[in-house]
C-alpha cells in the first residue's frame, strides 16, 4: 500500500506535536493551537479538494488538540469522508476520530452508520475489524439499534475470519451490556454456543465472555453450553503446557479461558452425571496441579495458577455436591492460610467463609481454627483480620463456641475501631446461640460490656435483660455477677444500666449475703449515679423505687435521695418527674399497692434476636453467613434466639413487652421517656391494677382528671407547662395557608376532620369542661407505606405559653401504612388568649421529610360555660358592661343561608347559653356565658340580629375584657 510509506511520515503532525511539547507556558500552547486551528480551517474551507493524506493529517491534528482538552467543532465531515477511503491508515484515523469525538446525537450519525454498514458488508477482515471496534467503543444505544441485528450474523457466519469473530463477539457483548433489550435472541444463540468448540482459542475466549453474560439472563437458551464448556475445560486442563503455544502463560495453559469457563459453569446447577464425572475429573486435576511444585519461580506463574484454582473452588462451592472435592478444596485453602502472600491469605479466608456454610466441608474448615485464630491475632493487614473474624464467626458451632468466643473477646481488646462494633455483635450472637449454660452467657456478655462498652449497642444489653428475665435459673447468678462487676472502680455506663435493671428486678436473690445486703447494693449503685447520663439515671431511679418494694428497710434512705433537691428540682424533666412521682408513690401507696405496681417484670415473648437483625442490617443483605445457619446447623432448633421458653413463663400478653420495638426507650419498668406529667399522675392513681406503662383507657383518664384534685397531690405540676417536652418554635414552619379556614370549621364544633391530604388525615375529638380540655388527635396514614420519624408537636407562638397549657403525649415514631395513631392532648386555659396554638406534624414518607403546620382548633370560646339568666338579669348585666371598649359590634353579610335553627345550633356550639324571651324581637338571638380560665373568669353577653331582607347580621358582644370581646366577635362573625 502506498499510504503506508507516506502515512508513517505525517511530518506536519509530528512537528505540531513537538511544537506543543516545547511550549513554555499554557498561553504559548493556546496560541500555537489557535494558529493550527486557523490553518486547518483554511484548508477545510472547501475551495480545493484535499487528498486523503492531508485530510488524515489534519484530522489527526484535530484529534490531538481535542485530546489536549480543547473543544473541536469542525472537521467531523472530513473524518466521515475518511471512513470511505480504501486505505487502511486513512480509514483507521477516521474511525479513531469518530469513536473519540462523535456524540450520539450528531447529524452525521446516519452517514457514519452507513459507512460502518458498508465496512461490515465488505469481506475485508481488517475493515470489518475497524468497524466492529468503532461500534464497541462508541457503544451507544443508537449504535445498538443500528447494528445489534447485524453483528450476530457476522459472528455465526461460516466464512468469517477468526479475528473478526473475536471482535464481533466482544462487540456484541458490549452492546448487550449497554442495552440488553436491543439485542435480539434468536437461532444464532445455539450457533454461538458451538463457538466453544472453535479451533481458535481467541474466539473461544471471546465467546465464553459473551455466553456467560447472556446465560445469566437467559439460562435456558444456553443450557447446551455446559457440556461444551466442560469438554473444552477438560481439554485445556489435561493438555501439556506446551500444547497451546500462544495461549500458554508462564506454563499455565490458557488461564483466562479456564477462569471464564469456570465462571460460565457457575451460572448453572451441577450438570447431569455423565458430564459431572468429567467436570469432577477436571476440578480434581486442577486441585492436583496446585499440589505440584511450581514450574516457574515467577509470580505470574503462581498468579495464573491460583486464579484458576480459586475459580475452581468457587465452582465447587457453588455446586456444593461433592463432599470429596469440598474437603480437598478446604485443605488446599488451609495451606494458603499460612502462605506468605497476603493476597492469598485473604482469598483463602474469604473462600473458606463460604465453605464453612456447606455441610460437607464445615468439619474440615473447623480443623483450621487455630490457624485462623492466629491470623486474627497476628495478621498485619486489617482487611485480612476482618476476614478472619468473619470466618471464625462462620465456623462457630456448639463444639467450639467457647473457644471462639473467648478468642474474639480477647481480640476485641486490641481490635481496630472500625470493626469493633461488628465483632461485639458477633460475639453477642454466638454467645447467645451456642450458650449451653446461661451463666457462661451472662459472663460473656458482661465481659463484652467491660471490654468494649462503647461499642455495645442497645440491642445487646436489651437482649441480656430479656434472657435473664425469661430464665429463672440464671437470675440469681446474673445478680451476683453484675454486683461483682459493678464493684470495679470504673465501669462502663452500659454495665451500670444492666446492673441497675438486674439488681432492681432480682437484687433480692442475693440480698441474703451480708456482703451484698440491700444497703450495700443501693450504695453501690448510687455511687455510679452521678457519673451517668440522664437516661441511665432515669433507669436507676426506677431501680430505687423497686428497691423500696423489695427491701422496705432501704425506704428511708431512698426517699431521702429522691427528696434531695438535685432530684426533685432536676433541670431534666424526666428525672424530676420520676423523682417526684416515685417519692409520692412510696409515701402514699400501701405496701400492697407498691408490690403490685412494682411487680417483677413478666417474661418477654419469644422473638428473633434483634441483634441478628442488626448484624444483617450492618452487613447488607446476603452478606452475613448467619443467613445460612439453617442449612449448616440443622441440629440446633433454637436459631432464633437460643432461649427456650420454660413452661412456667409462657408469654403473657403485656403491652410493654415490646422491649426491643421501643428501641430507644429505657426498659419497661420505667414509663416511656416523655410521658406527660398529668397522664402519669393518672397512671399512678388508677394504676394499682395496671402495669406501670399501661395507661388507663382515655375515657377513664379524662374523668379522673376532672375530679377535683387533692391539694397536696402533685397536680400542682400541671401548672408548670412542661416546656421541655416541646421543641422550640424556631424549627416550626408557618401554618399552611388553609389553616385559618380549617380552624373556623371547629369554632362551633368539637369533632371532625381537621386536615386531609393524599398522605395524612388528622381527625379531632375534643371535650372541654370549665378551663380544662382534652383533645384526641387521630393521625391516619392514608398510604400503604410506613411513615418514619412521625412526630407531632404542639407549639405556642408568642406568649401563648403563659395563657394556655397544652400537654402532649408522644406517639409512636412509625405509623404503618393504613394505620391510625392517636395522640392525647391535655389542655388547660390559664388566661384568656387570642391565637390558637400550632400543631406541627413532621414525618418521613418514603425517605422525603414532610412537615405540616396547622392551627390547633382550640379557641377561647371552647372554655365557655353557658349561663342561664332571666331577661331582667341579662339587661342589668348588659348595662353594666356599657363602656365602649367592652362592646364589640360587627355588621356583616351572611355567607350561608339564614336559617334560625342552624344559627341556634351554631350559637349553642359556640358555647353560650341561648336565652329566650329576652329580646323583644323574637328573630334576634341572645346568649350569655362565662369564659373559664385558671386566672380569671370573663362574663360574656351576646346579641345577634339577623336581617333577612338585607341578608345581613348585626352581632354585638359585651364582655368584661376588651380584647376578648373583639376576638369573640371576630370568631363568631365568620360562622354565619
Amino acid at each position: 500500500m502506498p499510504a503506508v510509506s507516506k502515512g508513517d511520515g505525517m511530518r506536519g503532525l509530528a512537528v505540531f506535536i513537538s511544537d506543543i511539547r516545547n511550549c513554555k507556558s499554557k498561553e504559548a500552547e493556546i496560541k500555537r493551537i489557535n494558529k493550527e486551528l486557523a490553518n486547518i480551517r483554511s484548508k477545510f474551507k472547501g475551495d480545493k479538494a484535499l487528498d486523503g493524506y492531508s485530510k488524515k493529517k489534519y484530522v489527526c491534528k484535530l484529534l490531538f488538540i481535542f485530546l489536549l482538552g480543547h473543544d473541536i467543532d469542525f472537521g467531523h465531515m472530513e473524518a466521515v469522508n475518511l471512513l470511505s477511503s480504501n486505505k487502511y491508515t486513512e480509514k483507521q484515523i477516521g474511525y479513531l476520530f469518530i469513536s473519540v469525538l462523535v456524540n450520539s446525537n450528531s447529524e452525521l450519525i446516519r452517514l457514519i452508520n452507513n459507512a460502518i454498514k458498508n465496512d461490515l458488508a465488505s469481506r475485508n477482515p481488517t475493515f470489518m475489524g475497524l468497524a466492529l471496534h468503532c461500534i464497541a467503543s462508541v457503544g451507544s444505544r443508537e449504535m445498538a439499534e443500528a447494528f445489534a441485528g447485524e453483528i450476530p450474523k457476522v459472528l455465526v457466519a461460516g466464512d468469517t475470519m477468526d479475528s473478526v469473530k473475536q471482535s464481533a463477539a466482544l462487540c456484541l457483548l458490549r452492546l448487550y451490556r449497554t442495552s440488553p433489550d436491543l439485542v435480539p435472541m434468536g437461532d444464532w444463540t445455539s450457533r454461538v454456543v458451538h463457538l466453544l468448540n472453535d479451533q481458535h482459542l481467541g474466539v473461544v475466549t471471546a465467546a465464553t465472555s459473551l455466553i456467560t453474560t447472556l446465560a445469566q439472563k437467559n439460562p435456558e437458551e444456553f443450557k447446551t453450553s455446559v457440556s461444551l464448556a466442560v469438554s473444552r475445560l477438560s481439554r485445556i486442563v489435561t493438555s501439556a503446557s506446551t500444547d497451546l503455544q500462544d495461549y500458554t502463560y508462564y506454563f499455565v495453559p490458557a488461564p483466562w479461558l479456564s477462569v471464564k469457563l469456570l465462571r460460565l459453569l457457575q451460572c448453572y446447577p451441577p450438570p447431569d452425571p455423565a458430564v459431572r464425572g468429567r467436570l469432577t475429573e477436571c476440578l480434581e486435576t486442577i486441585l492436583n496441579k496446585a499440589q505440584e511444585p511450581p514450574k516457574s519461580k515467577k509470580v505470574q506463574h503462581s498468579n495464573a495458577k491460583n486464579a484458576v484454582l480459586f475459580e475452581a473452588i468457587s465452582l465447587i462451592i457453588h455446586h456444593d455436591s461433592e463432599p470429596n472435592l469440598l474437603v480437598r478444596a478446604c485443605n488446599q485453602l488451609g495451606q494458603f492460610l499460612q502462605h506468605r502472600e497476603t493476597n492469598l491469605r485473604y482469598l483463602a479466608l474469604e473462600s473458606m467463609c463460604t465453605l464453612a456454610s456447606s455441610e460437607f466441608s464445615h468439619e474440615a474448615v473447623k480443623t483450621h481454627i487455630d490457624t485462623v485464630i492466629n491470623a486474627l491475632k497476628t495478621e498485619r493487614d486489617v482487611s485480612v483480620r476482618q476476614r478472619a473474624a468473619d470466618l471464625l464467626y462462620a465456623m462457630c458451632d456448639r463444639s467450639n463456641a467457647k473457644q471462639i468466643v473467648s478468642e474474639m473477646l480477647r481480640y476485641l481488646e486490641t481490635a481496630d475501631y472500625a470493626i469493633r462494633e461488628e465483632i461485639v455483635l458477633k460475639v453477642a450472637i454466638l454467645a447467645e446461640k451456642y450458650a449451653v449454660d446461661y451463666s457462661w452467657y451472662v459472663d460473656t456478655i458482661l465481659n463484652l460490656i467491660r471490654i468494649a462498652g462503647d461499642y455495645v449497642s442497645e440491642e445487646v444489653w436489651y437482649r441480656v435483660l430479656q434472657i435473664v428475665t425469661n430464665r429463672d435459673d440464671v437470675q440469681g447468678y446474673a445478680a451476683k455477677t453484675v454486683f461483682e462487676a459493678l464493684q470495679a472502680p470504673a465501669c462502663h455506663e452500659n454495665m451500670v444500666k444492666v446492673g441497675g435493671y438486674i439488681l432492681g428486678e432480682f437484687g433480692n436473690l442475693i440480698a441474703g449475703d451480708p456482703r451484698s445486703s440491700p444497703p450495700v447494693q443501693f450504695s453501690l449503685l448510687h455511687s455510679k449515679f452521678h457519673l451517668c447520663s440522664v437516661a441511665t439515671r432515669a433507669l436507676l431511679l426506677s431501680t430505687y423505687i423497686k428497691f423500696i418494694n423489695l427491701f422496705p428497710e432501704t425506704k428511708a434512705t431512698i426517699q431521702a435521695v429522691l427528696r434531695a433537691g438535685s432530684q426533685l428540682r432536676n433541670a431534666d424533666v424526666e428525672l424530676q418527674q420520676r423523682a417526684v412521682e416515685y417519692l409520692t408513690l412510696s409515701s402514699v401507696a400501701s405496701t400492697d399497692v407498691l408490690a403490685t405496681v412494682l411487680e417483677e417484670m413478666p417474661p418477654f415473648p419469644e422473638r428473633e434476636s434483634s441483634i441478628l437483625a442488626k448484624l444483617k442490617r450492618k452487613k447488607g443483605p446476603g452478606a452475613g453467613s448467619a443467613l445460612d445457619d439453617g442449612r449448616r446447623d440443622p441440629s440446633s432448633n433454637d436459631i432464633n434466639g437460643g432461649v427456650e421458653p420454660t413452661p412456667s413463663t409462657v408469654s403473657t400478653p403485656s403491652p410493654s413487652a415490646d422491649l426491643l420495638g421501643l428501641r430507644a426507650a429505657p426498659p419497661p419498668a420505667a414509663p416511656p421517656a416523655s410521658a406527660g406529667a398529668g397522664n402519669l399522675l393518672v397512671d399512678v392513681f388508677d394504676g394499682p391494677a395496671a402495669q406501670p406503662s399501661l395507661g388507663p383507657t382515655p375515657e377513664e383518664a379524662f374523668l379522673s382528671e376532672l375530679e377535683p384534685p387533692a391539694p397536696e397531690s402533685p397536680m400542682a405540676l400541671l401548672a408548670d407547662p412542661a416546656p421541655a417536652a416541646d421543641p422550640g418554635p424556631e424549627d416550626i414552619g408557618p401554618p399552611i395557608p388553609e389553616a385559618d379556614e380549617l380552624l373556623n370549621k371547629f369554632v362551633c364544633k368539637n369533632n371532625g376532620v381537621l386536615f386531609e391530604n393524599q398522605l395524612l388525615q388528622i381527625g379531632v375529638k375534643s371535650e372541654f369542661r370549665q378551663n380544662l380540655g382534652r383533645m384526641y388527635l387521630f393521625y391516619g396514614n392514608k398510604t400503604s407505606v410506613q411513615f418514619q420519624n412521625f412526630s407531632p408537636t404542639v407549639v405556642h407562638p408568642g406568649d401563648l405559653q403563659t395563657q394556655l397549657a397544652v400537654q402532649t403525649k408522644r406517639v409512636a415514631a412509625q405509623v404503618d401504612g393504613g394505620a391510625q395513631v392517636q395522640q392525647v392532648l391535655n389542655i388547660e386555659c390559664l388566661r384568656d388568649f387570642l391565637t390558637p396554638p400550632l400543631l406541627s406534624v413532621r414525618f418521613r414518607y418514603g425517605g422525603t421529610p414532610q412537615a405540616l403546620t396547622l392551627k390547633l382548633p382550640v379557641t377561647i370560646n371552647k372554655f365557655f360555660q353557658p349561663t342561664e339568666m332571666a331577661a331582667q338579669d341579662f339587661f342589668q348585666r348588659w348595662k353594666q358592661l356599657s363602656l365602649p371598649q367592652q362592646e364589640a359590634q360587627k355588621i356583616f353579610k351572611a355567607n350561608h343561608p339564614m336559617d334560625a335553627e342552624v344559627t341556634k345550633a351554631k350559637l349553642l356550639g359556640f358555647g353560650s347559653a341561648l336565652l329566650d324571651n329576652v329580646d323583644p324581637n323574637p328573630e334576634n338571638f341572645v346568649g350569655a356565658g362565662i369564659i373559664q380560665t385558671k386566672a380569671l373568669q370573663v362574663g360574656c353577653l351576646l346579641r345577634l340580629e339577623p336581617n333577612a331582607q338585607a341578608q345581613m347580621y348585626r352581632l354585638t358582644l359585651r364582655t368584661s375584657k376588651e380584647p376578648v370581646s373583639r376576638h369573640l366577635c371576630e370568631l363568631l362573625a365568620q360562622q354565619f
Partner: protein, 459 residues
C-alpha cells in the same frame, strides 16, 4: 503577617522559598495528595513547608480550571499571588492578614527586584538568588514588611557582593542612622553640581464604550513619578490643578476662579509616597515632602470625571450569511492637531471558526493573527483630529456548534503626549535652607504621557 514567600516558575517549581513563620504548612498537608516536589526544593524545605509549597502548585499553578482569584485558601492557609510573565510570587499566611497590605508588599517586591536586576524572569531569578534572599531578609522581618525603598536598600544591599567590607565604619553608622531615623528614605550629605529634577505624569486611560458610542465606563489611573538629583535635604512642594486647591485659592480672587475653573480636575482618590507629609495634605491639601534621591513614585491617583478620550472607535460588523462576515472599523483621534499619538494598535477579534481574512486599510499595517484569533492593525503615528479606517472580510467555516459568536469588544492601545485626565503640574518648588541654592537654580523637566489601559469598544 506573612508566613512565607515562594517564587515559582511556570512549571510550578520553586525557585525561591523563604519561610518566616512556623505555622504555615502543617495544615495544608491534609489538603491533597502531592506528587514529588520540583528539583529546586532541595533540602532547604522542611516537610510541612513542602506541603504548603505543593498545595499552591497543585491547586493554583496546575489547577485544571484557570485560577483567577489572586487569593486562594487551601486548608485554612491563604495564598496571595501575583504573576509576572511566567513567574509566580506567592505570599502564604495562616492568619487573617490585611490582603491589601500583602499585595502592596508583593508589588513592592517586584519593583525592588526589577530595580536590582531588571526584568523578572526565571533566568534572572536563578542568577540572583543570593541577592533575593538578602533582600527578603531585609524587607520582611518575621512576616512584617520593613523598609522597601529601593534607594535606601541599594545603599547597603549591593550587587557587588563584598563591597560592604570596604565601607568605613562611619559610612556604616550613617546607614544605620538613616535607616532607623526619621527620614529613612534619604541620607544626608548628598551633593550634586547640577540640581536637576524630572517629573513624569504617567496616566492610563480605561474605557468601555457601547457600539453606539455611549461611554459605559471610563476612568484614568495616573502616577506622578519623580526623579530627583538634588543636594542636601531639600524641602519640595508640589502643586497641580486639583479642584479643591484651586477653589480654595479662588475664594480670594473671583476672576481667577472663572479663568481656571475649567482647568481644574477632580481627583477621586490618591495615595502618596511615604515621604509626603500627610498631615499637611489633610489640613492644607498641599503636597510637601523631602524627596528620596533618585527615582520614586510621588503619588498615585484616579479620576473618573471629564476624561479626554484620545480616540473614538466606530465599529461596523455585518454578517453575510453563515459563512461570511464584513467588518469596518473607523478610528478618530480627538486631541490637538499639533500633538502626535504613537504606537497605536487596534485589535479586532475574529470568530473562532474563521477560515480566511482579507484586510484593506488606508494607514498603517493590518494582519490577521490566527494564534490570537484577532486582526491586529498597527499605526506608528497619528496626529490629532484625524480619521482612519480599516475594512476586513472574514470567511467562516460552517461548524456543528450552534453557539453564536459572542462578539468580544474591539480593544486599542496607544500612547499620547498629554494627560487624559487633564492634570497639570502647576509648580514644584524646592527649598534648601542649609545649602545656598534656590528654587530658580534647579532645572526642572515635566513630561506627560497618556497610555491606554483597557480601552474597549463593543461591536
Amino acid at each position: 503577617m506573612i508566613g512565607g514567600l515562594f517564587i515559582y516558575n511556570h512549571k510550578g517549581e520553586v525557585l525561591i522559598s523563604r519561610v518566616y513563620r512556623d505555622d504555615i504548612g502543617s495544615q495544608a498537608a491534609d489538603s491533597a495528595v502531592f506528587s514529588s516536589s520540583g528539583p529546586f526544593l532541595g533540602e532547604r524545605l522542611g516537610g510541612s513547608v513542602r506541603n504548603a509549597v505543593d498545595a499552591f502548585r497543585v491547586n493554583v499553578i496546575h489547577a485544571r480550571q484557570q485560577v483567577r482569584s489572586p487569593v486562594t485558601n487551601i486548608a485554612r492557609t491563604s495564598f496571595f499571588h501575583v504573576k509576572r510573565s511566567n513567574i509566580w510570587l506567592a505570599a502564604v499566611t495562616k492568619q487573617n492578614v490585611n490582603a491589601a497590605m500583602v499585595f502592596e508588599f508583593l508589588y513592592k517586591m517586584c519593583d525592588v527586584m526589577a530595580a536590582y536586576f531588571g526584568k523578572i524572569s526565571e533566568e534572572n531569578i536563578k542568577n540572583n538568588f543570593v541577592l533575593i534572599y538578602e533582600l527578603l531578609d531585609e524587607i520582611l522581618d518575621f512576616g512584617y514588611p520593613q523598609n522597601s525603598e529601593t534607594g535606601a536598600l541599594k545603599t547597603f544591599i549591593t550587587q557587588q557582593g563584598i563591597k560592604s567590607q570596604h565601607q568605613t565604619k562611619e559610612e556604616q553608622s550613617q546607614i544605620t542612622s538613616q535607616v532607623t531615623g526619621q527620614i529613612g528614605w534619604r541620607r544626608e550629605g548628598i551633593k550634586y553640581r547640577r540640581n536637576e529634577l524630572f517629573l513624569d505624569v504617567l496616566e492610563s486611560v480605561n474605557l468601555l464604550m457601547s457600539p453606539q458610542g455611549q461611554v459605559l465606563s471610563a476612568h484614568v489611573s495616573g502616577r506622578v513619578v519623580m526623579k530627583s538629583y538634588l543636594s542636601g535635604m531639600p524641602e519640595c512642594k508640589f502643586g497641580m490643578n486639583d479642584k479643591i486647591v484651586i477653589e480654595k485659592q479662588g475664594k480670594g480672587t473671583a476672576d481667577e476662579t472663572s479663568k481656571s475653573g475649567k482647568q481644574s480636575i477632580a481627583i477621586d482618590d490618591c495615595t502618596f509616597h511615604q515621604c509626603v507629609r500627610l498631615s499637611k495634605f489633610d489640613s492644607e491639601r498641599s503636597i510637601s515632602f523631602i524627596p528620596p534621591d533618585g527615582e520614586f513614585e510621588l503619588m498615585r491617583y484616579r479620576t473618573t470625571k471629564d476624561i479626554i478620550l484620545p480616540f473614538r472607535v466606530i465599529p461596523l460588523v455585518r454578517e453575510v450569511g453563515r459563512t461570511k462576515l464584513e467588518v469596518k472599523v473607523v478610528i478618530k483621534s480627538n486631541f490637538k492637531p499639533s500633538l502626535l499619538a504613537q504606537k497605536i494598535e487596534v485589535r479586532i477579534p475574529t470568530p473562532l471558526n474563521t477560515s480566511g481574512v482579507q484586510v484593506i486599510c488606508m494607514k498603517g499595517k493590518a494582519k490577521y493573527k490566527a494564534s490570537e484569533n484577532a486582526i491586529v492593525w498597527k499605526i506608528k503615528r497619528m496626529a490629532g483630529m484625524k480619521e482612519s479606517q480599516i475594512s476586513a472580510e472574514i470567511e467562516l467555516l460552517p461548524t456543528n456548534d450552534k453557539k453564536k459568536w459572542a462578539r468580544p469588544p474591539i480593544s486599542m492601545n496607544f500612547e499620547v503626549p498629554f494627560a487624559p485626565s487633564g492634570l497639570k503640574v502647576r509648580y514644584l518648588k524646592v527649598f534648601e535652607p542649609k545649602l545656598n541654592y534656590s528654587d530658580h537654580d534647579v532645572i526642572k523637566w515635566v513630561r506627560y504621557i497618556g497610555r491606554s489601559g483597557i480601552y474597549e469598544t463593543r461591536c
